[in-house]
Amino acid sequence: MNPFASTNQYREKQEKAITALLFAATAITVFTTFGILFSILFEAIEFFQIRSFWYFITGSEWSPGIEDSKFGAVPIFAGTFMITFIALLVAIPVGLGSAIYMSELASDNIRNIVKPLLEILAGIPTVVYGFFAALTLAPLVVQVSHFFGLDASFNSALACGLIMGVMMIPLISSLSDDVITAVPDFQRQAALALGMTQGETIRNIVLPSAMPGIISACLLAASRALGETMIVVMAAGLRANLTWNPLEDMTTVTVRIVDAMVGDQAFDSPATLSAFALGLVLFIVTLIINVFSLIMIRKFKEKYRINTL
């Protein structure tokens, strides 16, 4: 008889049980994704059973009142894209510039001071940015446009977009900083040895090499901006307003979701269910952007065989 047999069997069972437990924990992350998808999908389907899907994606009037309610989401999508566009217009150049300075030019001392500061900026809750946008920036935008003889709303898309852009600077700069640092040094040395100036080296050699990672960072920022809630709830308008003018008030998908969910209508009323229809659109769009971004960064990692990003 093998004297170790019984304990071995016990151990084997224990190992299997623990492995199964660990696997179950891992499965929760998968359940979460599907949980989000299905909890939105079912209610959204209920919405599209009572309201036209076609009008939802092409209609230009959104008025979720009790009577004569209309659910045409085009002005909402337009507002969301306008604010996201303004935010990216701020965040990409400034974030990328900061990343270039941090990775290519700054001394270690400056890096050690500035990096924690940018982390503070990244860690500020969005409700704080929203308060700042509503209290300080929006009146400022109104004053400045008044100075130029223009009329701006206190809920202007411009103020929201600007503050959202500032919020995303650290996101873009830290991700781009990582990829720019990961570009191998021999590329820089070769370029400098051939007589390129430092600016030319960065622009023509380093940035193109890091481009997949930078695009990935920008996509991630775009996905963040599309789904950002608190800033727009506090500083953007509620009115579904289809316009090209960023000084007017515009609303976004997330604002309408919050408005529908905190309202006092019945849960199965079309006004409440419309939040899930909007949520479904938001989920699908951000999912596509996120996956695309993940594929880009994976390509970059494979190219330079990096494991740390």
Partner: protein
């Protein structure tokens, strides 16, 4: 100029190229200065707006305590002062008499909490005092009957519809309860997932897919987690709406990806020779992971968890969806009771029209940011202190 012509390598465009390079580097430096400058301006703006809320105005007036004032507390003070004293303070008189019965049937000069308009005037902000009241307040200032003291109520009271009587206590307790639930769920599950993916899973299509899923989860808009919490925890499992339990579980699902990613990095940094030494001594895989790899990776996992927690504290959008923005004057005592959290309280106050709430909003933000910055500092300290160079 002429010596350039002798140089066979002279490139006439060189000057222009160097200038372009210089401008480009200036642009990079400028963007960084802009970011840091904005951070400073932003923090300064919040601090300047919020600091006055840590002080509160009190007025020294005669208060008479008797049977009549218990029935109608407004009558405890002279008619002309009625609009200057806080309604909430007067309403509290019966409770004050319960605590100090010796005051009954006496008339005393007391420091009474001032109305928010008096407070705003004393702090030289915009106010809505009538000329008659204004004259009275001026008179009180001249006779030292008005004093600005440290605002203890802000830390010892919950939300209130009366601005001078509102504080952050109920929302802070709500935040703590919510975070307890979040960490109790997210920390073990996150660590277990990281252990499975790093130590047990084979590198096949399936684990790659799970990894993409986790990374995607980190980037899904937070408001959608709120819809999940509403549909699953409240509507499906029947958990109480607005409770820290639902809020904590929802935030736990959001925090999971952060904890998993940092825990995996910590596990990966433990060198393979530790594992091989364990196997060489005849340990099983579970024993190696539990007794050797995990303890070595623990500081890294802790750091990641603190950073995840700091993010969960500031999260507002999903909690609004599950109803944690209700008006909660009393602190919740269990995770099943309706409650609110600090950022949600900030959000509610930000929407209030009274000027006194604006400074309270900013003061709430100061408290929130101080907590977040301390947490991040602790995380950085832990990382520095326990970092092992292999």
């Amino acid at each position: 100029m002429s010596h350039h012509q002798d140089n066979p390598f002279y490139d006439p465009s060189l000057k222009k190229r160097h200038r372009a390079s210089k401008y480009f580097l200036w642009y990079a430096k400028g963007s960084l200065i802009f970011s840091i400058g904005f951070l400073c301006f932003f923090l300064l703006d919040i601090v300047i707006t919020g600091l006055p809320a840590f002080k509160q105005t009190y007025i020294n007036i005669e208060v008479s305590f008797n049977e009549k004032t218990i029935k109608s507390t407004r009558k405890a003070i002279d008619k002309k002062y009625r609009r200057l004293a806080s309604r909430a303070w007067l309403r509290n008189i019966p409770r004050l008499l319960e605590q100090q019965p010796e005051l009954m049937n006496t008339t005393q000069y007391m420091w009474v909490l001032a109305d928010d308009q008096v407070d705003q005037y004393a702090k030289q902000h915009h106010h809505k005092l009538k000329p008659k009241q204004l004259a009275l307040v001026e008179e009180m200032i001249a006779s030292d009957q008005l004093d600005i003291q440290f605002n203890t109520l802000f830390f010892s009271k919950g939300d209130s519809k009366i601005p001078e009587y509102s504080g952050i206590l109920s929302s802070v307790i709500g935040t703590i309860l919510t975070l307890l639930v979040t960490m109790a769920v997210a920390f073990p599950i996150g660590t277990m997932t990281a252990v499975y993916l790093e130590e047990f899973a084979e590198d096949n299509r399936f684990s790659q897919w799970i990894e993409i899923n986790i990374n995607n989860l980190a980037a899904i808009p937070s408001i959608l987690f709120g819809l999940l919490g509403l549909a699953v925890f409240i509507n499906l499992f029947g958990m109480p709406r607005s409770s820290p339990l639902v809020g904590g579980l929802t935030l736990a699902l959001m925090t999971l990806p952060i904890i998993i990613v940092s825990a995996r990095a910590a596990l990966r940094s433990v060198p393979d020779r530790i594992r091989q030494a364990g196997y060489g001594l005849g340990l099983t895989k579970i024993q190696v992971v539990k007794d050797h790899v995990l303890p070595l990776a623990f500081p890294g996992i802790m750091t990641g968890s603190i950073i995840g927690m700091a993010q969960a504290i500031g999260e507002t959008a999903p909690l609004i969806i599950i109803g944690m923005i209700a008006f909660i004057p009393d602190s919740p005592s269990s995770i099943m009771q309706a409650s609110t959290v600090l950022p949600a309280q900030i959000f509610t106050w930000a929407g209030m029209p009274e000027r006194a709430y604006v400074e309270r909003t900013a003061a709430g933000i100061i408290v929130l940011l101080s907590v977040l910055i301390s947490l991040n500092t602790i995380a950085v300290y832990l990382r520095k202190k326990f970092e092992v160079k292999w």
